[in-house]
């Protein structure tokens, strides 16, 4: 019964999306308002049917209805209810169903918030969105059908992949990733619409930017959540391995971040329109590439779903979208005429350009590294893999260059500036840079790249804080406002600017934390007999013994390791080995003791059931928690930018204190920094 209804809903969604797409494109060509209204209705219908289908599947999972194909695949009576719900996205078919729902909700939101605006471009955007929606509905209805009704339903199910039951983070990482990934469909539609209609004015770039920023926030969080999960669960003590599927999530983030920056130049100067649109199109295509990589079985990864017919289908869709994007660009890019020009020379404009250049370079290096094994195998039939050394060697210099721009860019004035002005802008933050560098050296940092990161990071930190304070200070001086009032006014009048610098602050912190955690950690790998101890940094670790734990879905051997720091007993850490009924090898869970300066990280390499010996891998990882905190700061900054300002009239919302505007914006000669 459930299977029947589910299949019906999916078919309805396919119908709504296909019809809606056709109606939307026809409305675009004929400039029909009625057509647009109908396209919107079809969009809402798609969202509604997808939502219903997902809720139905969740119900089936909770009810353990094993007559439904997907439930038979991942459901289980033994697992707790929260695992049953989250198994919606744990395997391939369910995850595409989930994709459909997220897409539906995004299309609903983007359509509804723009229902009275942009009548020339919305039909094009809707056409593109619903065409993508139709593809995913088709996938669900065909190759990836989760609602198959089994004639002989099994009495029990295997449960989802045990790795997905190990940690609470697993609940939120996939949804966030989907909110990021799938969300990129919306700016893709807007970018295609800009090209098709030949319009990318100030109003429309704002819409594009907003709908690029929202998924960007989710994607940023999702990428870091993935790293956090890998850190807390996989036991090797790291948070990023340049795994092909990690790279798949990172690639669109790089182009999206570049696009967010070049969009600013589109808005302020009317330049780089075609470039920005290209970046947005590329972002979406990279999400398709990413989903292909994850689902085709072509890449070996902890994420890989098994091979299926989905791979070729997604590849066909990716090819079609790519050809569509290239053709659209080639035919229509000339309609996006620039309204200004880049001022040559040392300026903030130039910094934006370099920023984009480095992001694109980064994208290409990661893409090449990820695909290189495929090239080698296709050409020479030899299997090889590209590992961390390549990626680290390429990404460290580029990352440090971007950190440099993060500081120097906002410090520089807009437009042409005299050498004296440039000097005046660029010299003061050196104090911050040198301070951070000195702190690092005092703390024992000697790795060259880490020291450079500290120097540039300190510089960028001072610039960012100065930029955040600048309008506040000026309001206090010129209007005699108190600190609090000035802050309130600035965050409401210059919200996007404040938010951007909050994100920058988070980014600086992330990059410093990454630099320190990658270079300053210490490790020990020892075999301990019961009662034996090992020293690591300030800690003494003693193997106390083993407990056996039985849980409904797994058995575990828990090693008790006593932790002492100097004279203080800090308690017991419990790394464990989990044994799942459906897995051959046990899966270890590390024990992590998090403090602000560093994490003490223990994982059990081997553990005998009698508790006589423990193979212990112990690490001290500095500044890890700051990566998570800083990501939170970035996310909050991004969301803050999206919050509507409670002011009367659109013009008021973008007003900034005159001084900050002069220092910050607009083309024109010698915009001197005040003060």
């Amino acid at each position: 019964m459930i299977g029947f209804i589910g299949r019906g809903l999916v078919l309805l969604s396919l119908l709504a999306a296909s019809a809606g797409s056709l109606v939307a494109f026809s409305a675009a060509v004929r400039r029909s308002a009625t057509g647009l209204a109908w396209a919107r209705r079809f969009a809402y219908a798609f969202a509604g049917t997808m939502l219903a289908a997902n809720l139905l599947m969740v119900y089936a999972l909770l009810a353990r209805d094993f007559s439904v194909g997907y439930v038979a695949q991942v459901g289980s009576r033994e697992v707790p209810d929260w695992v049953a719900v989250t198994s919606l996205w744990s395997s391939l078919e369910g995850s595409i169903l989930f994709w459909g729902m997220v897409l539906g909700l995004y299309v609903l939101a983007a359509t509804w918030t723009n229902r009275d605006r942009h009548p020339e471009t919305m039909p094009w955007a809707l056409g593109v969105w619903l065409a993508c929606a139709a593809f995913f509905s088709f996938l669900i209805a065909g190759p990836a059908q989760p609602f198959l009704t089994l004639a002989n339903p099994p009495s029990a199910g295997p449960g989802p992949n045990p790795l997905l039951q190990n940690h609470l983070l697993m609940i939120i990482h996939p949804p966030f990733l989907y909110l990021g990934y799938v969300g990129m469909t919306i700016p893709f539609g807007f970018a295609a619409a800009a090209l098709a209609s030949g319009q990318l004015g100030a109003e429309f770039i704002r819409v594009l930017r907003t709908w690029l920023l929202l998924p960007w926030v989710f994607l940023t969080v999702a990428i870091v959540l993935g790293g956090w999960w890998a850190y807390e669960v996989l036991g090797w003590g790291g948070y990023w391995a340049w795994d092909p599927v990690e790279n798949a999530s990172f690639l669109p983030w790089l182009t999206a971040t570049a696009a967010l920056h070049s969009a600013l130049l589109v808005e302020r100067k009317g330049i780089l329109k075609g470039w920005t649109v290209t970046l947005v199109l590329a972002t979406f295509l990279l999400t398709l590439l990413g989903t292909f990589m994850t689902r085709s079985g072509v890449f070996n990864s902890v994420h890989s779903f098994t091979q299926s017919a989905i791979g070729p289908t997604i590849l066909v869709f990716l090819s079609m979208c790519t050809i569509y994007s290239v053709a659209l660009l080639a035919m229509r890019i000339e309609t996006l005429s620039p309204e200004g020009r880049i001022e040559p020379g040392v300026s903030r404009d130039m910094a934006f350009l370099l920023n984009n250049l480095f992001f694109v370079l980064f994208t290409f290096t990661v893409l090449i590294g990820t695909l290189f094994p495929l090239v080698v195998e296709a050409l020479r039939g030899v299997q090889m893999s590209v590992g961390r050394p390549y990626f680290d060697r390429m990404s460290v210099p580029i990352g440090v260059a971007l950190l440099f721009l993060l500081g120097v860019g906002p410090a520089l004035p807009w437009g042409r500036a005299t050498p004296a002005q440039v000097r005046r802008a660029l010299l003061p933050p050196l104090a911050g840079g040198v301070a951070f560098l000195a702190l690092g050296l005092a703390a024992g940092v000697r790795a060259p790249w880490a020291l450079v990161a500290l120097l540039f990071g300190g510089y960028a930190a001072q610039v960012t804080l100065a930029e955040l304070w600048l309008p506040v200070g000026q309001r206090m001086k010129s209007r005699n406002e108190s600190v609090l009032r000035a802050l309130a006014q600035v965050q409401s009048r210059g919200r996007r600017r404040v938010a951007a610098f909050i994100v920058h602050a988070g980014m600086v912190l992330v990059m410093i934390a990454i630099a320190i955690s990658s270079t300053q950690g210490v490790t020990a790998e020892v075999q301990l007999a019961r009662g034996q101890s090992v020293a690591l940094g300030p800690y003494t670790l003693t193997f106390l013994g083993v407990d056996q734990v039985s849980e409904p879905h797994r058995d575990a051997l828990v090693a008790n390791v006593g932790v002492r720091r100097g004279e203080r007993e800090l308690g017991t850490l419990k790394p464990r080995m989990n044994y799942y009924a459906t897995q051959r090898e046990p899966i270890g869970t590390p024990a992590v003791r998090t403090t602000f300066p560093h994490d003490l990280y223990l994982s059990a390499l081997n553990l005998d059931p009698d508790g006589r010996t423990l193979g212990l891998h112990a690490m001290i990882n500095p500044m890890i928690v700051w990566i998570w905190i800083a990501t939170g700061i970035m996310a909050l900054g991004g969301l803050f930018a999206l919050l509507p300002v409670r002011r009367i009239g659109l013009a008021a919302a973008t007003q900034e204190p005159a001084a900050a505007v002069a220092a910050d914006a607009g083309p024109g000669p010698t915009p001197a920094r005040i003060g």
């Binding site: 994007s325 660009l329 090239v375």
Partner: protein, 182 residues
């Protein structure tokens, strides 16, 4: 039509799409075995249930199907009937040998008693034979020619067709060890 954009776009995207197309069907889990084409490593192992130990050398002149398995391995249980039917199906010039991988002898005995067996299973307690053959998971099956060369390695469960295919290749392989490309 902006030809630069068209050309540039196709230059970047077409190779990518073609590359991905070519890589479909690639199974990254299929790691090529360096042993294929080389002489099969020697071993002498005891048989489950007692009796004389089995030496690989004594099988020289006959095709050997060497199957690494375990009772806790679900695909091994799936392929068990296929292998069990082997000796009767392929005749006396093909020897079937099972090697137990990381398992408890009691469990193995119980399994063989319940499921039946038509060929000996050998106990590799120290795991040295598995290591010598580069086994990294079960089931893995090696096909050894009458001359003692490993002709093929199958990772994953066997089907009747696959079994016949590999045995044919092993039977007709040249006596002298040669480098094959599979």
């Amino acid at each position: 039509m902006n030809r630069k954009v068209l050309f540039g776009g196709l230059l970047v995207s077409l190779p990518l799409v073609i590359l991905l197309l070519l890589s479909l069907g690639r199974d990254p889990h299929q790691v090529g075995s360096p042993l294929v084409g080389r002489p099969a490593p020697h071993f002498t192992l005891p048989v489950v249930g007692g009796g004389e130990s089995v030496t690989l050398e004594s099988m020289r002149g006959r095709t050997v199907v060497l199957n690494f398995w375990a009772t806790w391995c679900v695909p091994c249980l799936e392929e068990h009937p296929v292998l069990a039917a082997g000796p009767r199906r392929f005749g006396g010039d093909v020897v079937f040998l099972g090697v137990v991988y990381q398992d408890e002898t009691a469990d193995v005995r119980r399994f063989l008693r319940e499921q039946g067996s038509s060929y000996p299973s050998l106990l590799d307690d120290s795991g040295k034979v598995a290591i010598a053959y580069g086994v990294y998971g079960v089931p893995e099956t090696f096909f050894v020619s009458p001359g003692g060369t490993i002709v093929d390695k199958q990772v994953g469960p066997l089907t009747p067709d696959l079994l016949a295919f590999y045995i044919d290749r092993a039977r007709s392989a040249a006596a002298a060890p040669s480098k094959s490309t599979s």
